[in-house]
Subunit: 254 residues, 2 copies
């Protein structure tokens, strides 16, 4: 019996930012797995068996979802934003890769499908204007799964490349130092006037947006619900919007 595991992005919060594809997948599913606040977003849907779990239980959650899908059910694995950006898609493939022979046999008939969603940095960028309108990079500041030195090195090289940057998971109660460290690297490599944007709870009723210069930034401006967008050296404000121009340096043609 073929089962399905659909790894899905719910977008940043507002239901209007779901894709039609996601709506259809939710309508056709039998089960939904995910971190409890994401599962809660589907709590009104009586056709779904909901399986909520805690944060940091990604691998167990993926294993359980594959087991339920292997029973021939249509299972959703929920992420907020896009499932491929610091979310559940990689965790599912990690579990598939590390499957025991028994699990390989059990999961063989499960079709795994990833469906994109509006990731937090692009929702934040749209609300701000177009701060990611030129080359940029996307960095997870959490050091749960990589050394802090790797993060610092990447921010330094990104600043040298003059990428705009989007930071996910800038800090949390258990990791208060992530954004502080990033700020040190930025201060060493960017001019004090560099624009830094803080977008918290984007697309939700309590959304807040804040734009300031690097020299004005304090560590408390970011928390675990904030996406931080660092402009490149040309990023600027026009009216209430922040944007990064498409052009950079002397264009090759005209």
């Amino acid at each position: 019996m073929t089962g399905q595991l659909c790894v899905l992005g719910l977008g940043p919060g507002d239901a209007a930012l779901l894709t039609e594809q996601a709506r259809q997948s939710i309508a056709g599913a039998s089960d939904a797995f995910g971190y409890f606040p994401y599962v809660e977003r589907l709590s009104g849907l009586e056709h779904l068996r909901l399986h909520a779990s805690d944060n940091r239980e990604e691998l167990d959650r993926a294993r359980q979802a594959l087991n339920v899908a292997a029973e021939g059910r249509k299972v959703l694995m929920l992420s907020s934003g896009d499932p491929g950006v610091f979310a559940m898609a990689s965790a599912v493939f990690e579990v598939l890769e590390g499957a025991s022979p028994q699990e390989q046999l059990r999961w063989k008939a499960v079709e795994v499908d990833v469906q994109p969603g509006i990731t937090a940095m692009l929702a934040a960028a749209a609300r701000l204007g177009a701060p990611l309108g030129h080359d940029f990079c996307t960095i997870n500041l959490s050091d749960n799964l990589k050394p802090a030195e790797v993060i610092e090195r990447r921010i330094r090289l990104a600043a040298q490349a003059d990428f705009a940057m989007a930071f996910y998971n800038p800090c949390s109660k258990s990791r208060p130092q992530g954004f502080v460290r990033a700020l040190k690297v930025l201060t060493a490599h960017c001019e004090p006037e560099r624009l830094i944007c803080f977008a918290r709870n984007v697309s939700r009723p309590d959304e807040t947006l804040r734009v300031c210069q690097l020299q004005q930034v304090t560590p408390d401006m970011a928390d675990m619900r904030t996406v931080v967008i660092v402009g490149n050296s040309l990023t600027r404000q026009v009216g209430r919007h922040v944007y990064t121009p498409r052009s950079y340096g002397a264009p090759a043609h005209g």
Copy 2:
């Protein structure tokens, strides 16, 4: 009279990848501006006045759209994908920033709003698996608006940072050398087994996906309808999927 300019992302092609927000904005608009293949996607909608224009006319298009919005109309500026990623949002803000005193007066009452969409790299990544599941960067390989040296330097620094990379506009008939140059930099800085993914016309009926090692890549694998995703040093295949693990090096905690 207040007009509206809504800068909108239509997603990569499949109408099921539009957000509900985009559908509602299209339903409520009076006019739609954009590059002609994007405007064509709305050609069945009789309530819309369509204003199609050619590629490379972005600034003129933005000016015209603002002028029509200033008449009190509800105007869409269409991009494919997400409007903030190498698309029309930055062009609109460039025009607003460079407005003459007469234009400033005319456009003062226009509300400008950017609405996100599913950008090509995230649609491609979902189809492939999760190649952007760890830190990554996004680079436009077109040298229309920036020198080729800047692009090469950014790719080199991104390789040194061991970012996965997504390349937009790898080459076109008028710029055949963009991807060739990128390939030279990758070959100099990445191992020959590095996974490179080519996603062409993602989510359309003629979608093609191709994955190979860097040493097997030839320049003809990319064209202007292709997004190229370069894995980081840990990116690998599991079954038919490509993914980049969430972990990197020795984790700081457990």
